[in-house]
Symmetry: C2
Subunit: 343 residues, 2 copies
DNA sequence: CTGAAAGCGCTTACAG
DNA sequence: CTGAAAGCGCTTACAG
């Protein structure tokens, strides 16, 4: 616990439940019932309590509610990433927006936590220590044990993006396979015959699934699926991958790049090497991020609705917390091709 | 309180402070002192407690600590925006990253809250209700009363970006004035004589200060500062503003655009109208976001370190919470020109 | 340096 | 439908 920041403490001002009860002429129990929207309270009592609450501008102490009720009314959004670089990307921002909009008006707070590899145990202890009722996990890499650990410790969890090698934890993901498939089919329909791909990280399901979809699309057209290069989510790695592909296959006439941010780097290399897009090389990206519309030329891309992803994850988690049954274990959200100038 | 999501509750498993005390052979008081890193605990007792804690994998219940100690060990990051669009922009992401890195290892949790205009009162009640020890406020527009209200209610607050018309609340901002000034000076040094600007929103200090800096720079060179058009933080509005400027002054040979995301739209219009950048029109942006380096041509821009902004805000707030004195009321962070191809 | 006891502000059976 | 009382798991003077 060393390193804890000192924070001065002093009793917060404002009314307590006791005063609300007195003003409303009822017991604390009844005030509590009204606050928690429980049935079996007379309309008269309910009205009096509401009156007193707004008159006193009463706001219940959350810590006391959590302690007494063993319910935190909060969920965590856990971002599992080394350098916390995810915070900068539009995927994360979209998810965050979705989580927020789904939470609006529900009186459930959002705790944002980064999982540092070194204090995985701290994180698990915190999350299962009653501070939150459940957790949303995003940007997992490889076969991260975190979701399973939390799940086994009894904490309701929903993962954003299919976790690798983990079948038992509920997740929500975009239909990356179909996205990759549509991208490939589109390039085929354009008459291209030498179609490459720049994949995302192979230790993430998104990277794998988009690649599988692309493979399937080329297979349908009886085209060879041999031109594959990997990149991470940076323009620089996209540039390197594109350069490597051009070296290997100077005759390539199309490329599916598994993320717009990677495609931006690929476009720069194509331009530098004098290939016209789309005349010489057709390019399809993925995400439909802002970069796609501002790219030169504007990028044809596969749109995924990350905000919807965030909303759906949250809906699924709250459903589990409320004990609803019949919830789908996992969900896949549709993707769609957005046509612009690059392909 | 209606609309509250039902969350099933059940007592969390795991050890309590009582068990730690028993195993360590001390009282709960002593365990508490160790947990809180207080002085006046014998090394022997301290070691025994640490031993017991790690053996039992004990994690203190935060709600109980908050209730008993009236200290939440949490701060809020409040994003004041209508459509919550901010969540998508790199400014917010950078701030968030900075806040997080400053919080790392301090055992202070981060609550993310959006301030919806309709429930401003709810937000104030929540924030001053003991759930958090302080608040960071970002992306305020106009003369938002929120910081002053919170400040007057006794909640420590730090604002990111100078708030308009509010002198008494501590803030941290980038030195937007100097940034605008440097941009103008650079364009002047290039020999440009008809220099325009596309401003950011005029109801935000960032927009005003960058404009003031630009004005000052043209003033130094005895150039007229009459070519001004306003945009919000979208490429579309940048395109409209640029088009309007070109209509008004077909002879303009340079433009300072107050944000990269706006500049991207301006570049598209310049290109569409056959103006070469930088030969015919030199362009300087602001932010040094990813868009600046991926733009065509790559954008000369004023860099602001938003991550540092987030870190500094957090440092300032934690300092205030710890009761440190001699803290600067407000801080301005340096900006610097990054030269690329566009100017 | 240490411990017993009170108390933080709620919720929850329990009894009515 | 309602209230009195116990209890959630800690921290904090207070006394030693």
């Amino acid at each position: 616990m060393s390193g804890m920041t000192e924070i001065d403490r002093h009793r917060r001002p404002g009314p307590r439940i006791e005063e609300v009860a007195r003003l409303a002429g009822v017991s604390k129990s009844t005030v509590s019932r009204v606050i928690n929207d429980e049935p079996y309270v007379s309309t008269k009592a309910r009205d009096a309590v509401h009156e007193a609450i707004s008159h006193l501008r009463y706001s219940p102490n959350q810590a006391a509610r959590t302690l007494a009720g063993s319910r935190a009314s909060a969920i965590a959004l856990v971002v599992s990433e080394q350098g916390s670089r995810v915070l900068g990307d539009p995927f994360f921002a979209g998810v965050l927006r979705g989580v927020h909009s789904e939470l609006a008006g529900r009186h459930v707070q959002l705790l944002l936590m980064l999982s540092q590899p070194q204090d995985h145990d701290d994180l698990v202890a915190y999350l299962t220590g009653g501070h939150v009722d459940g957790a949303l996990l995003v940007s997992l890499h490889g076969d991260d044990p975190l979701p399973r650990r939390l799940h086994e410790l009894g904490l309701p969890v929903v993962v954003g993006g299919r976790p690798l090698g983990e079948a038992s934890v509920p997740f929500v993901d975009s239909d990356n396979f179909t996205g990759g498939l549509e991208a490939a089919r589109h390039l085929v329909s354009l008459g291209r015959g030498r179609i490459a791909t720049v994949t995302g990280p192979r230790d993430m399901a998104a990277g794998q699934d988009r690649l599988s979809g692309w493979r399937r699309g080329l297979g349908e057209a009886q085209l060879p699926a041999d031109l594959v290069a990997e990149a991470d989510f940076t323009p620089e790695s996209g540039a390197s991958a594109m350069a490597a592909l051009l070296d290997r296959a100077p005759d390539l006439d199309a490329v599916f790049v598994a993320a717009d941010i990677i495609a931006v780097g690929a476009l720069q290399v194509l331009h530098a090497r004098g290939r016209r897009v789309p005349q010489d090389v057709a390019v399809v990206g993925f995400d439909d991020s802002l970069l796609a519309s501002t790219a030169t030329p504007p990028l044809t891309t596969v749109r995924q609705d990350v905000e919807q992803l965030g909303r759906t994850m949250t809906w699924r988690l709250l459903g589990a917390l409320a004990g609803e049954d019949g919830l789908p274990p996992s969900l896949l959200l549709p993707t769609s091709l957005v046509r612009r100038a690059s392909a």
